[in-house]
Symmetry: C2
Subunit: 606 residues, 2 copies
């Protein structure tokens, strides 16, 4: 005895506010799903508006526009159930899923658990949903819930599966990436499926939006916790799957825990509505299992007018390591920031160091090397090696370059400023003069940006941004900061991964040399900072885990070093506040993930 339901997963890359383009993607996939006689097609959370729309939600016209497009989607829902995320305005505003069928809104599910921590502000915009519903589609019962909802063991998933009898939970999601998130989420989905003896159809957003990257990795998982299909990570994808829902139903007969749990819920005050949907069918014929790997041409995706984000070589391969996963996140996040903000080309300062080298590689992968320009800006303190190593990298990755010396400009500043500088510093390269060099470089990049409409990418890493080892309006200049959430030690790891995968794409001289800002003679980062392997561990404990200095010292670090690092982190908040956005990669990124006061006198040892 089998009872199949044909599911279509549309893992799309929506753009915030781009209703027209989002709708084109949605309608294209609905067309494909209908053509292949699918029963249900599901799109990510807030697929119509893009996620997160932030304060655009407070604009009545934005919500209105979202309804206009919901209407359009409703009008193409004949003979298929469409589950799509949108903003629902009843008396209050909800983050919702519309369940559409035969040109009607069958029902609306309102998200119940609203994340308001980390990067999330959903309580700012939405009311909690209270209504519990399941759907009976030709005698197969399914439930719908949204992202955060499925993270709760006593949430809507349990209610829909155990009290409502749903054998399938469709969770539409916009779950931002951070290191290890993909595997953690999959473990959670496994547990939720097994606990509730239910199939889970998890449809996640993919793409970059300011500080966030959504990894996709939509997953269909059965009641035993087995992965039936896993969509690609970090690119748009889709699949069609004929799911046998009878297995879950049968498994429940034998599961004492399931029955006990149902007793508890039945005796609670919870209740649940069942909505019937009758879909005229069924020309499905034999069971199919389409996906983008083996059926790409069948679905004719390439032939449509709708623009897919280009799939680069890199994406043809599976993710094999943390470094590769992060690199893909960086490429996707950088590309989407550039393209979705209407830029075609970027420019960045290439110093000869590893950070800017990595940003060069990321950019070349993101938008193609022909659209990338590196600017070399040697000073009197730049080593010959820095120039040569930079030129080697430029050749390897085939990007454009420009050389502008900053010596003369620097001298001109000094001669015009010298009467107003402290005479005792006159023969000495102090912080004023170091920063001045960095700021001249910033100005040059911005001049090129203004002249040619190139987006400037900043090249700072998380270690230096944490401790303020960077110049505001200098090397911090840029509209986007690809590696701002990547610690220096991870910059090395990713570079080494790239060199293995792409035959020493980054010249080994760049990897080997001691890090230096080259702003005065014989300067090295480690003159002022602890070695990066020490620094990065302390930073992780302090920033991501909110440990105090005593706890950090208890891990074996020198107390003076720890206090010094904490002090530098605290004092640099004002710089970070004026830094450009970059991609969240760690558990806790700077930006809306970590909201610190600038005016802050808290000192534990004080």
């Amino acid at each position: 005895m089998q009872k199949f339901i044909r599911l279509y997963c549309a893992q799309i890359n929506s753009t915030v506010g781009d209703f027209k383009n989002n709708f084109e993607k949605i309608s294209y996939h609905i067309y494909q799903a209908k053509k292949h006689s699918c029963d249900i097609i599901a799109f990510p959370e807030l697929a119509i508006t893009g996620y997160p729309p932030e304060d655009l939600i407070l604009k009545p016209a934005f919500i209105q526009k979202n309804y206009e497009y919901l209407e359009k989607i409703k009008d193409i829902s004949e003979e298929i159930v469409v589950v799509v995320g949108f903003i629902n305005k009843e008396i209050e505003v909800y983050n919702s899923a519309a369940i559409l069928h035969n040109k009607k809104i069958v029902s609306i599910y309102n998200k119940q658990f609203l994340p308001n921590y980390s990067v999330f502000d959903e309580e700012r915009y939405f009311q909690q949903g209270k209504k519990n519903i399941v759907f009976d589609l030709n005698n197969i019962i399914f439930g719908v819930n949204i992202c955060e909802d499925i993270y709760y063991s006593s949430g809507p998933t349990q209610l829909q599966a155990i009290l409502g009898g749903a054998v399938l939970i469709i969770n539409i999601s916009a779950s931002p990436y951070h290191i290890k998130k993909i595997s953690e989420r999959e473990k959670m989905l496994f547990t939720r499926a097994v606990d509730n003896r239910v199939n889970i159809f998890y449809v996640n957003l993919v793409g970059g939006q300011d500080e966030l990257v959504f990894d996709g990795t939509s997953t269909l998982i059965n009641e035993k916790g087995q992965i039936l299909y896993r969509a690609k990570s970090f690119e748009e994808d889709y699949f069609i799957f004929d799911l046998d829902t009878q297995e879950a139903n049968m498994a429940r007969i034998q599961d004492a825990k399931f029955k006990n749990q149902r007793d508890i819920l039945t005796n609670s005050d919870k209740n649940l509505e069942i909505i019937k949907i009758n879909n005229k069918k069924n020309k499905q014929g034999k069971k199919i299992n389409f996906n983008s790997n083996n059926n790409f041409d069948n679905l004719n995706l390439k032939k449509t007018s709708y623009k897919f984000f280009e799939i680069k070589d890199l994406y043809k391969q599976n993710i094999s390591s943390t470094e590769e996963e992060i690199f893909k996140a960086l490429v996707l996040g950088t590309r989407d920031f550039i393209i979705k903000n209407g830029f075609k080309k970027i420019v960045f300062g290439l110093s000869g160091g590893i950070d800017s080298a990595l940003v060069g590689v990321i950019s070349a992968f993101a938008i193609g090397p022909e659209n990338v320009t590196a600017v070399l800006m040697p000073s009197m303190f730049s080593s010959k090696e820095s120039i040569n190593d930079s030129l080697k990298l430029i050749k390897n990755i085939k990007i454009n370059h420009i050389i502008v010396s900053i010596k003369e400009i620097y001298n001109s500043y000094i001669s015009n400023l010298k009467d107003n500088l402290d005479p005792k510093n006159i023969n000495y390269i102090n912080i004023t003069k170091e920063n001045l060099q960095a700021r001249i470089r910033g100005n040059i990049l911005m001049a090129l940006s203004n002249e040619y409409n190139w987006l400037v990418l900043a090249t700072g890493n998380k270690s230096e941004i944490s401790v303020g080892y960077c110049t505001l309006y200098g090397d911090m200049v840029g509209g986007f900061s690809p590696i701002k959430d990547i610690y220096k030690t991870m910059v090395y790891r990713i570079s080494q991964f790239l060199n293995i995968k792409y035959k020493n794409i980054i010249p080994k001289e760049i990897i080997k040399k001691a890090p230096s800002a080259e702003l005065k003679p014989n300067q090295k980062d480690q003159d002022k900072l602890p070695p990066y392997d020490i620094l990065d561990q302390i930073l992780k404990l302090y920033i991501e885990e909110d440990k105090d200095y005593k706890e950090i010292v208890s891990f074996g670090f020198d107390i003076k070093t720890v206090l010094n690092v904490i002090d530098m982190v605290d004092k640099s908040e004002y710089k970070r506040r004026q830094g450009s956005p970059g991609i969240k990669i760690t558990q806790k990124a700077f930006g809306k993930d970590r909201r610190y006061p600038i005016t802050n006198c808290f000192k534990l040892e004080g």
Copy 2:
């Protein structure tokens, strides 16, 4: 028949994380209150930690430190009831008021309504309180609640007054200022007092914290809605008041509405605990009514070691106009940002225009003219008048100044960059070259900042920041931006107010001249922007009221102008994101008050 209770209002200026200094203020006022036999002393919301501590709350060590200081306060609470705001960690974390007496914690009230809109993120940190309590102090019943709580008609105030029988509500608050907030709040307090036949003792925080200014204006209001005492706005203050609580009790006998409301609450599922406090008394003697105006010396405030923020001349006078109110908010916010961040001196670019002139005046009032340096940075496009007018202002307000020409530096950039600039722009001052001038000035200010540890103040107003009529890393350079939430038309209004009050402190030439960035010959702001009186009205409708273009046009504005303004605002989000913080003055400021995506394709007319 009278029943007096002696109240002490301690309207202090706490600093986020500065536990030691906050405690010194708190203990000083407790000492004074005890000396004058007060029954109750109340401090603002989160007085121990400062408000808002933002993500510091996620640090266990921060909460721990807050408890250490709560203990210290408890230990000096003999024979007086102390109501003080702190962070309460039970199983969950609460924004709370500790009610202390005789070296014991009598009880803790947890805030019930957590603002999570506008600049607030309280749902990110705190759980909602559920416990309802009132206190019986020698047969006078009072209730305590916190800030937002009192904004709800069916909130804790009603429950405490009507069901609990409290004749006095103590609301401890950290209510940030915006235009008209003071009078709006007072109307709300009036209504709450009258509706519930209750005295309200409203104790508000004063001081600046990053983007926020708390105005103080603590108020004691009786059950008829009469203001018994109103503390000063925009400075630290305190008062002692003998309140007759019997009036409220008697008024309730005659009030049918009050009794009906009590019936409703009695029949609801609400309940409420009464906690008895017996305070050994009473050497109070005859009725007193101390305050900082008539009893300043009696209280010996000047003689203590504890540092008051200096009270400038300006503060000796009452607020007489919106312009004066705003000016005081700007001075307080600027002063607190400078001082609380450890700076003593500031520097800013003085262009000869009205914006930088106003910033000069604000700075001089905030930290004294001897600590302010104006930098004049003429270019080939600067008019002679700009220099002369600037020097006149400098003389009027007695600040320091420096003159650095940018001509040579500019020429040096152009000669080094020219091979890489678009040849067709070579003889033409395009946006690249305009911005370059602004960025050279930014670099000069930053060099002086680095050299002398002066804080740079940016001088941009809200009109230009809204439409992006400003240069990122140029005139936007600065650690703080005093007038970033002041529209250009309001810049004029405030300047005119100052000129009336302080005998043409701002040279009238500066007020009269047409606004110009002076970045190319004969440039005027109105070449690119609509007249400021039009622009500012459109901006207010779009930014503060979230109106769409059709609604704005319906107010009588030209459709092309409106669409152009909206487009400029939307496109400039990336600049604002990298701008420095400034003081929220309007209903909706940029910063955490308006959280917009940079990547945003929403266009209504699209």
